[in-house]
Symmetry: C2
């Protein structure tokens, strides 16, 4: 699939589409339909379960998305959260300078400033792609979206550019309410906002996005994690220096990259999450090390989590693992005039931060891309069970009052614990096909045999499995247990 | 509790507090801490389960919170979503005119315009409460928060003032993707934004709030609901005309108020949700009918859902039930030049809307207010089981390696399916007290008897119940089943 195929599929089935489409759509804004909302929530739930609920002293919090100006001045966003913009002198279309240069096969370093962009544009004679107009001088453009509050609109602020800031701003209170121990993890799942110059590639570059981020606050001198308790498999890592992919275990990463053990440990965790929970094939996942100008100056170690996504044309960033040092709490200590260091066993510690950051929308897109398969006779969305929007569908095979009644009561029973759909229209083949395409792992068919067997003291139904199309006959009384087992409910 | 008591409690325990507090706090913005985030999510989950998952053809969707200008011009928000504002000529403090008048015991109709407010202010000699300054002429003030997007900030829009608009804008696509049948329900749980002039009363009037809203689209000539399938209990209803509370069943409401049966049916559903799911006592819940200038002109029937909340000083709005006619889709048909009417069995229908609207933050506050009890020897948060932030806590009674090991393994087992806390510090009484105050319904104590009984082939633990403080001894092997039953898991 390419981007347009994916957008057409997502729109036709009810996953997502551009906002305000009856008004001609709004750039960079998307709506999740009934299936997209389910899939997005399932991703958030497995993420939460894997990274937060399984941790000791890791907690989910929720912060406001509007923030006053001061903390975002202190964090550096007001001055440094910029893209370099170039506009066409004729049609006044604007482009992100780095993206436009890349499209013209010109490479500049990721941290290039406006003057360097201008130089590269001039040297390579880059013009406006629309009308070949000369480009105006590049300029720095802050990507935060500002808001003005209060009766005189005098309280200026911003929509948060990342959920991370909610965790940093609440660290001190949470630390003191909780056990006053490090490490402490604060997770936020929520919206972040960026005035992207040219939003594009579906859910890749959005103006309103959902992030799932876990900020781990710790004492760098006292955080020992046992690398023997995390995956021992080799992961694909692309180093900044050579750009040549290599296969390394977390233990080998420590030795080779001279990075802290806690960092390699979390690479292992992330690897497990992608390959074991999300079932992404090993060869489609890699860590891309960022260095030099590519990484934010405050990051001590920075790797992007990349997945090979066909519709995006290759490996693309879906998350990141960032060792941010004590940058964040030091900034906010200065900005707020409040010392955010903590006392651990009599020692004063300015907590360091390890950030696990995931773009929820990007991961949703990635999952659809990876698991949507066109097979000989059908299209099927082979999502892992934990991510399937609908968990079960119930079909009455024939138009018959008794069958319909049985189906209805089974549907109502299952609905209490599983996300269940009901479909009585069209041929059974058509109904299977519909469920295959939206990823429903199991279909239950109620037929005359159900009614007959019920007369004999038990009722039986057919369960048909999405992935291998096999069917099995089980007793109605065993249905709930069957799915409890399949979905790992108590 | 009064408002300050509640804020102090919520802050001390980890429920919620004002945003950016290390920077001196931001008016009208709140953060949910680790317990608040849990409680808020539990409210959202029971709401979703009750109103959406239980319905036929009711779906949760998720829309962007930033919207272009056009739909909000079409919906009337750009011109009519106004409050009347008065400012002090001396100190330039601004007030909502109706609130200031109410505080001075002056009543004006809810729809009063600026001139009428001025008249009331003059007549009653109302001054600035801060410095007794003369008030400047009242003016209309639009409560939407505007955003400017794009490289030239030329794409103007707003943060959505209500989640409802996301449902209206997506109705047409969802109708066509789904079964092309009415009624169709579209629910949204998400943020809405309002530039409140004087945010106050904790989570009552916020600039960024969470709504849970269900929009039911239907054909008014063809929506029959059986009033015999909803509560037959008498509900408290306060009619617009007499303002005198009366006790009526949904069937009696239809007869007395001449309102549609589908409306009374949903009053019944809401009554059941509050009294049976949230366990709000009958006498603390009422429907307040709005009429005349009090209700939006497009609402055919409008009742506020009110709960008697001590810290807010009496009955306050926590939700509403609004029969909006075909106002919304008609507006958006005109605004978008796209006919949003649908074809049902050959008949052209402009769907009507029944809106079930709930303020999530207000309900969270209300729940804490209602269920926090100061008893003789303890403070206890007697939240219904379905709403308790933590479901179980595990305590090792003595400092003993075997006991600690047993506790750890029980904790890890329970954690897989229940939100479980672990506490090993302080006396057992102190630990119970901590759990009582945050509403944990069950505490499990592991002691020497656990270890001894395990040596005999079974292990036993003590389960202590929050509400009546009773204890019982059960086998470790039965613990999971015990809680599965208590929490209604399969």
């Amino acid at each position: 699939m390419n981007i347009d195929d994916m957008l057409a599929f997502a729109k036709a089935k009810g996953f997502f589409w551009q906002s305000a489409e009856i008004y001609g759509s709004a750039a960079g804004l998307f709506e999740y339909g009934h299936l997209g909302a389910l899939l997005k929530r399932r991703f958030e739930a497995v993420w939460l379960n894997y990274f937060v609920d399984s941790g000791e002293d890791y907690y989910l919090i929720e912060g406001a998305t509007m923030m006053p100006e001061k903390p975002l001045v202190a964090s550096g966003h007001a001055s440094r959260f910029n893209d370099i913009l170039v506009g066409c002198s004729k049609c006044h279309t604007y482009y992100r300078a780095d993206v436009l240069l890349a499209e013209n096969k010109v490479t500049v370093s990721e941290g290039a400033n406006a003057a360097e962009m201008d130089e590269a544009i001039k040297k390579n004679n880059v013009k406006c792609p629309k009308d070949k107009g000369t480009l105006l001088p590049a300029k720095s453009f802050n990507m935060m979206i500002d808001v003005s509050l209060g009766p005189e609109k005098a309280d200026t602020g911003y929509l948060r550019p990342e959920t991370a800031q909610s965790a940093y701003l609440n660290f001190f209170r949470q630390f003191n309410i909780l056990r006053k121990k490090l490490p402490l993890g604060l997770a936020v799942i929520g919206k972040a906002y960026r005035n992207e110059i040219s939003p594009r590639q579906g859910l890749y570059r959005m103006r309103e996005l959902t992030q799932a981020e876990l900020q781990l606050f710790f004492d760098p001198e006292n955080w020992k994690l046992d690398l023997n308790t995390v995956t021992k498999k080799k992961m694909t890592v692309v180093p900044y220096q050579t750009k040549e992919a290599e296969q390394l275990t977390p233990i080998e990463v420590v030795a080779k990259y001279k990075i802290p053990e806690f960092y390699a440990y979390h690479m292992g965790l992330i690897y497990q999450f992608y390959t074991e929970v999300l079932k992404i094939p090993h060869e489609k996942l890699r860590f891309l090390e960022k260095g030099g100008d590519e990484k934010a100056f405050y990051n001590k170690v920075h790797m992007d989590i990349e997945v090979d996504v066909e519709s995006w044309g290759g490996f693309k960033e879906v998350g990141g693992l960032h060792y941010r040092g004590d940058y964040d709490l030091t900034c906010h200590s200065k900005g707020s005039n409040q010392d955010l260091s903590v006392n651990i066993d009599g020692k004063k510690v300015m907590p360091n931060v390890l950030e696990l950051s995931f773009g929820v929308d990007r991961n949703v897109w990635m999952l659809l891309d990876i698991f949507y398969k066109k097979e000989q006779e059908r299209s099927v969305l082979k999502l892992p069970l934990a991510l399937a929007p609908y968990q079960v569908a119930v079909f009455p095979l024939q138009k018959d009052a008794t069958i319909e009644k049985e189906s209805e009561s089974l549907y109502k029973l299952l609905k209490k614990n599983f996300k269940t759909d009901f479909d009585s229209s069209g041929s059974i083949g058509r109904r299977y096909a519909r469920m295959d395409e939206i990823g429903t792992p199991f279909c239950i068919t109620v037929d005359y045999e159900t009614v007959d067997s019920k007369a004999k003291g038990y009722g039986s139904v057919t369960i048909r499995k999405r992935d291998d199309k096999t069917q099995e006959r089980i007793k109605v009384d065993d249905v709930v247990e069957y799915f409890s087992k399949a979905y790992g409910v108590v």
